[in-house]
Structure formats: C-alpha cells, structure tokens
Amino acid sequence: MTTSAIDFTKNPLGTSTTMEDVFDAFELLDDWEDRYAFIIDLGKQLPPFPDSERNEKNYVHGCQSQVWLIHHYEADGKLFLLIDSDAIIVRGLAAIILVALNNHEPRELLAIDIDELFERLDLFRHISPTRGNGLRSMISKIRDIASTEAA
C-alpha cells in the first residue's frame, strides 16, 4: 500500500482533539440530538479529500454510502488516515475513528480496541458487522494498512 503524497496530517483529529475530548463531550451531552450534532460537527473537521484520490484503489466496498480512505506515513513513523463519505453521519463516525487511530505508529494503532471505544460512546451498533454501513470494512482496511506498514 502506498502512502498518499498529499499532506493532510495537519488536522485536529487525533492531534489536538483526542478521545478524552470526545468522551468528555459525550458525558455532557445527554440527549441523542446533541450527541449527533456533535458527531456531525466533528465530521466537518475532516480535511478535504483530494479528488485525485477518489479511485477504485481507495474505495471502501460494502457501504450504503460512498466511502474513500487514504493514509499517509510520516517520517517520524506516525500513521495518518483520511476518510471521506457522502453520508454525513458516516463522516462524523469516521472522524471519531480518526481521533482514535490517527497519529500513532502502526504497531500502537493495532493495539487500540476501537470496539471498546465505540462501546463506551454507546455507538458500537454503528460499527457492528450487522449494520452494513461499511464502517466495519473501513476499520478492517485501516488495520490492513497498519499491518502492512508495521511489517
């Protein structure tokens, strides 16, 4: 797997915004509307996805919406991911995935239990294999990338 030449690593997801921030926010937001408003806003922080990367290689299959995924491997060994989707909720959930997985070395990334994080946010059903919205395939694709880079 090749890393994208386009630099999208200067973004808050997984750098200035951490999972702790997401957990704190969720604690304060007690109804679903506020939580989803937060998820939608987080999705707006995704850096723009380069049009040139919207190709078959980067397409994530198995989604109701169209989903693309690229990654960039930094010189310091940190992996950055970028996801795009035409569904707004999927973008928001993807942004949470990036908060959790961005800015780690591949080996560290592979050790992160994303299911547990989503469980804590009470969002697990969105990434469960039964939902069929492709977030599961997105996560496997990320893990494949990390495994390849770690090897």
Binding site: W32, Y36, Q64, S65, A87
Partner: protein
Amino acid sequence: MSTLSVAKITQPLFDVHAVRRDFPILSQQVNGKPLVYLDNGASSQRPEAVLQAMDSYYREMHSNVHRGAHTLADRATSAFEGARKKVQQFLNAPSAREIIWTRGATEAINLVANGLAPLLKPGDEILLSQMEHHANIVPWQMLAERTGARVLPIDVTPEGELDMDSFHSLLSERTRILAITHVSNALGTVNPVADMVAKAKAQGVITLVDGAQAVPHFQPDVQALGCDFYVFSAHKLFGPTGIGVLYGKAELLEAMPPWQGGGEMIERVSFAGTTYNTLPYKFEAGTPAIAEAVGLGAAIDYLATLDRDAMEAAENALLQRANELVTSVPGMTVIGTARHKVPLISFKIDGLHPSDIGTLLDQQGIAIRAGHHCAMPLMEYYGLPGTARASFAFYNTLEEVEQLFAALQKIQRLFT
C-alpha cells in the same frame, strides 16, 4: 366496496388499535422510544395467530409429510396441504395442484426461469421493467445467458409509472416472456398488470407477475389477472420467513421440467430411469418447510378476519396523510408519485444521504429502509444513490405517520 351491514355501522369498521394488539412485536421500545415500524416492504410482522399456529404445529403434530404410516404424519400432512388450499383460495387459483411451495418470491422466479429454458432460443425476448426488484431481473439475465435470449426493460415515467408506449413498442413477435411486478417495492406504484397480461397473452407471450409487494395490501385474483405465473413471499404477508409461493397454470407447470431432484418430487426411481411425481410435488424436492406453510396458512386466515375494504381504506388514509405532510419538511421530495400506489413513500431530503435519514430515524425509534431497495436500475434512472423508504402496513396508525414527519423535521434541524 361492500355494503355496510347495520351491525358494522355501530362499531368501527377497522380498529387499528385492536389490530395492533394482535402483533406482539409492535409494543416494544427501541432506543428508548416506542417502536414505529415502517419497514414493512422489507418484511412485515407476524400476528399472534401465526406464532401460535407454528408453535402448536411443533408441539402437537410435527412429523414428515406424505410419507409416514402413522397419526402424526397424517396430522402434519393435512395441516401442510390445508395451508396449500388456503393459498389457492387466497389467490383464487383454479386448483391446489397449481400452488408450489418455494423458499420465497426469489426462488419461485428462479424456478420459472429455469423451467422455461427449453422454450427459448437465441433472439427471443424477455420483457421486464425498469422498476423490477433484482429478484425479477437476475434470474432472467441468467436465463438469457443460457439461451441466447435478450432481456429488455420497459421504461418508467418520471412519476414512477410504467410507460405504456414503451411497453407497446417493445412487445413484438420476438417477445416470449413478460415478467413484471404487480407493485413496485421501491416506489409503491401499482401497475396495470391485468391490461398488460391481456395484451401479452394476445400475442402468445408467457406472463409472470411478481406479487411480493402486492399481497400485503390487497388480494390478487390470478384468474382475473390472467397471468401464467404469480409469485410472492410469506414473510411480507405477515407470515414466516423461508416460504413462498409459485402459482402456475397447470398446463405450463406440466410442460416444465423439474428443477431440483430428490425425494418427494419422484414417482419412481431406478437406475434405468426415474419418473417424476405429479403437480405440485414435481417441483418440491426434499422435505418442505412444513411449519412455515402452516404459519402462512394462519396468516391468510388471520387476514380473512379483517374487513378488507375497511383495511384498504385505512391504508389509503395513511398514504394520503403522508403525502399531505411532505411539504412540512423543506427539501423533501417523494420519488414515485403514481396515481395508484400502495401506502409507501420513497423520498430524498436535500443535503442528506438516505443512510443519514435511516440512522437518525432509528434514534427516534422509527424503522425505515435506506438504500437502493434491490432496484439498482430504477435508482440509476432517477440518478440517486438510493432513497429512504417508509412502507406502511394496515397496523400502522395515522399518529405514526405524524411521528415520522415530526422526526424528519427534527433531523433537518440537526443539520441546519
């Protein structure tokens, strides 16, 4: 409309709240909200009567059918064949021999497509429509591949009706098969199948009607329709999964070769040669879905206890209310505005993906379907990745329609 008897006038014709009590699954909470189930087009729910029929079948009479020399086998066989009789009456088919059990509408269409293979030659044409479910497209494409025949789709109008000019221009002396849906699962359109079948029959064309989305809303009469084949799945008709029906005219079924081989479908097996059983068993290899057949019979009995006209009027009222409320959601457009529709609305909302709508309705306890509805050619025609679809059943209430629209307004506020 039936004439109202005096007794009926004194009580509500169709008491939806009483009917709902017959469906145990409906009285639950989902995501902390009362469930509003509007995904009936994908699969409807079962009344207590169906659950009990299947339960008591297993508790009291289960055995294999047609074979045993004992009392339970007799009971199971008579329950199983009794269910076939109920389906025959439900469809007004001339004979129970013409009712073949299948796994569902999909398998029924595959069975017919296989059986008709010997009749086709290169250059023959199979007419479908652009609004078919994949189940009524792919088996014909596979048949075309095998035989050299061609599959041609009848156009759809922007309103979501079948384009009759397109139908007439495609119907020709090369046409051998017409396979069309009675009701569109993605749009709710009720197609003029009786007319189309009559025109096709006049040219000697074999006709199949996909009734999967029709039977939950009205009772088809296969003799009045005049079609050669009619198919449906029990799970959309308030019955079990895993069973469906193929009605076929006896003379065609007789002419068709068996599809699967095995037990039940034979008269005599020998290595010198095997002879096949008579209809309907010729097409029912192996142990069938007995409890499911019994469950389907119970669903048909249950429906017979309801006043059909009143039920259809209640369903119409649901559709009408939904149509009235569309303007209360800015940016909402209904896809499919045919004159004659079952209570189903497929829609899009500007700026939202269907999956966003589905996810956020689910948060509010409302179940709909988001996606291409296994009708990709139709979605392509409309240039949409998919739609959100609310499909109603007779047990849905006007309040639920209103809840759907209130929930859509809420979603929209979230995005603006």
